[in-house]
Subunit: 239 residues, 2 copies
DNA sequence: TCTGGCCTGTAACCTAGGTTAACCGCAAAA
DNA sequence: TTTTGCGGTTAACCTAGGTTACAGGCCAGA
């Protein structure tokens, strides 16, 4: 049930059976949550972290005027707010983008397992550092890439991340975001996100319908994205 | 000599004298480096982390076409690549923006102190999570704020961060970046960074000359930035 | 069955910021 | 002392992406 998370970890790191047990035992509860729910509000005090088992989440930040930026998307296997373990409150919101299954991991259990298994502590630290790497790549996109390159890049990244946890099939994946939500990931308006999507379709790179993304030409898509998966740290790590 | 780092830590967390000693002992060497040097190249294997004692560093990422985005600035007291302890290679470069004094902390020592002092482990983890929070705020800036608001925001953030380590004086601070480098932080062209700077000057909010930033109207500057320092986690933490 | 709201799609128009190309001042190098 | 090159500045012009507005399809709820 928490298997998808172990799958993500094991893609990068060896996990012993003791460690696996500790991870499995850390889950206090599994919750089912509908789409479009605010799970964590920026600033509220936290004493547990959320491990996404199924569905999509977003971390987002708002400006006083209402403009919203999604700073990271989360898919099955991701911890949405493991950084909350040390920060104790977040500087962003966490919302569901689809119906979700979510494991709740109390901070005291994270604390126990990191003290008992220092290596697991490093693994979780590594995991928040990987999140930061994904965010850095987003900054590069927002600051320097064109709209079409940015969108292509996001689709490439998600393909790799979903593939790691077995959520891709015949060159595509379920993509439950509306165009408004997609535009909030990319720092674009909905209108321009729509134009950009059209352009990717027109070039025969992707199709997006019925909440499913089909990648018709992955090389081509990676080309316009200038995609280099180095920042996803897919190789085996020594921790 | 490493005091500035302890100052930054102690602004947020209690550090015992044992912990302080462990931190001080972790430094293997102190290096002096000139401005505009590439300290760490993206992808190269790391076995130590760099603690900035004096001067300015930038983390930056480049596109194949040469466009550069600075994803974070570092000032005295900051670890530039503590995340390298778990990642073992970076997904970005680290360069000096001014002459710098830098302490080198071998990863094996970080490993020892985190195993011997689990609380220090959490403190360092916290510290990389704070970096990530700063990066998220940058994504919000790049994605949603106007050029002038973005630049004002950066100046406000740096004021707070420098103030923590006692690097501000009469409402200003040394700011060694060229306009080109500033523009790379903000996702703007040099020309537009210059225009934006003029506009902030014209509105009587700042002055920037001889590598020194003078904030003439902090409230006003925070206003155009819509600055809220929550993401800097300035309050005392329990770890 | 109707209705209202959200999502997608388009068109017309606008503007923030990019591009290109100068010029000036100054400091380091020759 | 001249030269060279970098940083800052400005102007003219351009374009990627924003804004506003509207229409059609779909679906959940009345």
């Amino acid at each position: 049930m928490i298997t998808v998370h172990l799958k993500k970890l094991r893609r990068r790191i060896e996990i012993s059976s003791d460690e696996e047990r500790a991870i499995r035992d850390s889950v206090a509860e599994v919750r089912h949550v509908r789409a479009d729910q605010l799970l964590i509000r920026s600033g509220e005090e936290l004493n547990s972290s959320l491990l996404l088992l199924e569905g999509w989440l977003a971390r987002s930040k708002d400006l006083p005027g209402g403009e919203r930026q999604v700073t990271e998307l989360h898919v099955a296997g991701d911890f949405a707010d493991l950084h909350g373990f040390t920060l104790k409150r977040l500087d962003h919101d966490v919302t569901t983008l689809s119906d979700c299954r979510i494991a709740v991991v109390p901070h005291e259990r994270i604390r126990e397992i990191t003290e008992k298994f220092p290596r697991l502590g490093r693994i979780y630290w590594f995991s928040t550092n990987m999140d930061a790497a994904i965010q850095r790549e987003l900054s590069l996109s927002l600051g320097q890439r064109s709209a079409i390159s940015r969108m292509a890049h996001l689709f490439c990244e998600l393909y790799v991340r979903l593939d790691v946890v077995g959520r891709t099939s015949n060159e595509g994946y379920e993509f439950p975001l509306t165009q408004r939500e997609l535009s909030e990931c990319l720092g674009l308006t909905v209108v321009h996100a729509n134009r950009t999507l059209q352009e990717l379709r027109r070039r025969g790179l992707i199709d997006l319908e019925n909440r499913r993304l089909r990648i018709r030409d992955r090389r081509g898509l990676e080309g316009v994205a200038e995609f280099d998966p180095g920042y996803l740290y897919l190789e085996k790590q020594q921790l």
